[in-house]
């Protein structure tokens, strides 16, 4: 059972670099998964009476010297309606820096309804010295959010992005797993 746990933890850690590799070799489009997701977007009906406030956080890991921040503090959306939001990142140093980001959604239970159509996460992003770029996130809240009784009192969802510096041999920490819960192969058998 411990082996299965280690295996699943390993698979979770592997998922991000593997996805990165997939994205870099196949480029944009993500056609492997686009099929049913696009159909859902095309046919979904906004639930107009269920307004949700989305707030935005931006963090950088201590070793990354980017200025990274959201361009809006909040946006009001309804389930079933696609929405656009922007972050902005600047490399104030005199050397190119490559960053890679991951994201987190709270409350935890709402995260399953938060669908990103396209964003800037999980893929290396290179900023040249003094370069500043807009970073869009295009997303929607699944209309089924409005039917979930557990979500009845949820009217605030917070999206947090964290950028790390992408280096050789560096693995991206997956949010939600504390470092003191990592299982090393030698222990816990």
């Amino acid at each position: 059972m411990a082996a299965a746990a280690v295996g699943m933890l390993g698979a979770s850690y592997a998922a991000v670099p593997l996805y990165r590799l997939y994205c870099q070799t196949t480029g944009l489009g993500g056609s492997a998964v686009a099929g049913h997701a696009s159909d859902q977007i095309e046919n979904m009906v906004p639930v107009k009476d269920r307004i949700i406030k989305i707030t935005f956080n931006a963090d950088v890991h201590a070793s990354l010297q980017w200025n990274f921040r959201p361009q809006q503090t909040e946006i009001y959306v309804v389930p079933g309606e696609t929405a656009l939001a922007f972050y902005k990142a600047k490399n104030p140093t005199d050397k190119p820096v490559i960053g890679i980001s991951t994201y987190n959604v709270v409350p935890f239970e709402a995260g399953q309804y938060f669908n990103k159509i396209q964003c800037f996460c999980f893929e290396e992003q290179r900023l040249n010295p003094q370069e500043e770029v807009d970073m869009p996130v295009f997303f929607y809240i699944d209309p089924e959010f409005a039917e979930d009784p557990r979500m009845v009192n949820v009217d605030l969802i917070t999206l947090s992005y964290t950028f790390f510096e992408a280096k050789e041999g560096h693995t991206l920490p997956v949010p939600g797993y504390n470092s003191n819960q990592q299982l090393s192969p030698a222990s816990n058998l």
Partner: protein, 101 residues
């Protein structure tokens, strides 16, 4: 991937985006559309429903632009893969119909 094996606290499992990652708009080619959208948000109390035309225009800008890509990818790639507007949730805005109500 929620399982019976509880690692002590619930954790959020990030998922990759449906259509992958936006390439960076290094030259700010669509910046004016972004500015228009941000201004619309500020003028409308950050209500997304009232600024959907502007967000559609920003994404259309991205779909029309080609940028030289890195050696790892195709010679050119767009700032966003071409996609019919309906599949981006803008079906009701096609033909110039406004959804402001």
């Amino acid at each position: 991937m929620s399982t019976a094996m509880n690692f002590g606290s619930k954790s959020f499992q990030p998922r990759p985006p449906d259509k992958g990652s936006f390439p960076l708009d290094h030259f700010g080619e669509c910046k004016s559309f972004k500015e228009k959208f941000m201004k619309c948000l500020r003028d409308n109390n950050f209500e997304n429903a009232l600024c959907r035309n502007e967000s559609k225009e920003y994404l259309e800008c991205r779909m029309e632009r080609q940028v030289p890509a890195s050696p790892l990818t195709f010679p050119f790639r767009q700032l966003m893969a071409q996609e019919p507007l309906e599949k981006l949730g803008f079906g009701d805005l096609i033909d110039g119909k406004s959804d402001k109500n």
